[in-house]
């Protein structure tokens, strides 16, 4: 639901990451990591990004989203597994004391700028 705000944030971070020595930079691609446990719908994010990137160096850029699975580790028995359904208990020992290792990401990894 807040994908518009996220898209605006992405555009801002991407623009501020363009090195000063590149004039009239044209960003072709933004590489993102989005965890499956984050409240972001990739399709909505792409839609919003296309709107807010208009008239910026990111206009027409592709949003490349790598979805990161939810991985947990048990604090009791150290077992590590991928969570595919909403059950947050250790698959091996059934303990509820687990840490989410990945799946909450919402990171900009890099931007790709067209070569002059």
């Amino acid at each position: 639901m807040h994908e518009m705000g996220i898209a605006m944030e992405i555009v801002e971070i991407a623009i501020s990451s363009i090195p000063d020595n590149i004039k009239n930079a044209c960003v072709e691609r933004v590489n993102l990591k989005v965890g499956k446990l984050s409240a972001i719908v990739p399709e909505s994010l792409r839609f919003c990004f296309d709107i807010v990137s208009k008239d910026t160096p990111l206009a027409g850029a592709k949003l490349n989203i790598e979805e990161i699975p939810v991985v947990a580790r048990c604090r009791e028995c150290d077992f590590k597994w991928t969570i595919n359904s909403p059950v947050f208990k250790c698959k091996k020992c059934e303990s509820g004391l687990i840490d989410i290792v990945s799946g909450r990401e919402l990171d900009i990894i890099s931007i790709e700028v067209a070569e002059e």
């Binding site: 639901m1 807040h2 705000g5 996220i6 944030e9 992405i10 971070i13 991407a14 990451s17 363009i18 090195p19 993102l32 446990l37 984050s38 409240a39 909403p86 059950v87 947050f88 208990k89 303990s95 509820g96 004391l97 989410i100 919402l106 990171d107 900009i108 990894i109 890099s110 931007i111 790709e112 700028v113 067209a114 070569e115």
Partner: protein, 224 residues
């Protein structure tokens, strides 16, 4: 040419949240972020809660709504300082972000309170994603909603430290499987305390109030 960025998109919010957290720690204020779906009885629960803790615990409330000051008006009647935030001033947002809390808190005398309640926007999705600098998060749900709410909104139930199950006085009139709800909550967040209450009938509040008072006191002790 690829340019490495490696930044969290919510970086700005997280920094602001940490700033809020430092300020609240310095003042010894326990901050509770209360979230729920619309209509679960969040405001009624808070009205009743305030009647239990005031004046023993000096409290202020920040109320977020997309529109209207109805909730703020109701809470102000209990005598606590209330700051209303309408998010349409900030873009009609579906959640409260850290900078909104910072601005709202500047309208509260922080030296005069021990407890700050933030009543978030009624929404089980977005508020879970945004750190506002709180100490604990509570989700309110009610027995007129589906038993599978925790499974449909796992992030919310993972991120919260406690749940309040409201409107339990309606159970005799509903085809509602309470045990199924409790099981679903434990599946998402094993060990999460669940307080079964009725805000309108004023029942079940004692364990919840005790939980709250312990949290507020331990934050005060950390300061002194």
């Amino acid at each position: 040419m690829e340019i490495k960025v490696v930044r969290r998109v919510l970086d700005v919010n997280e920094k602001m949240a940490q700033q809020n957290r430092n300020l609240f720690a310095e003042k010894g204020i326990f901050v509770l972020n209360v979230m729920s779906s619309p209509g679960s009885g969040k405001t009624a629960t808070l009205e009743r809660t305030l009647s239990y803790i005031m004046p023993e615990i000096k409290t202020a409330v920040i109320v977020g709504d997309i529109c209207t000051s109805n909730d703020a008006d109701r809470l102000a009647r209990t005598g606590v300082p209330v700051v209303q935030v309408n998010t349409d001033e900030f873009g009609g947002d579906c959640h409260l972000a850290a900078h909104v809390i910072e601005k709202a808190a500047s309208n509260i005398d922080l030296d005069d309170i021990d407890f700050l309640i933030v009543e978030n926007i009624g929404n089980l999705v977005c508020p879970a994603e945004f750190d506002i600098g709180e100490d604990a998060r509570v989700v309110v749900l009610s027995v007129t909603e589906g038993e599978d709410k925790p499974l449909k909104y796992p992030l919310m139930f993972r991120e919260c430290n406690a749940a309040i199950l409201n409107k339990i006085d309606l159970l005799p009139y509903l085809e509602y499987d309470k045990n199924s709800t409790l099981k679903n909550i434990q599946q998402i967040n094993p060990g999460m305390p669940v307080f079964e209450i009725s805000a309108t009938k004023n029942t079940g509040f004692d364990p919840w109030i005790e939980w709250l008072k312990n949290k507020v006191k331990s934050k005060q002790n950390k300061k002194s």
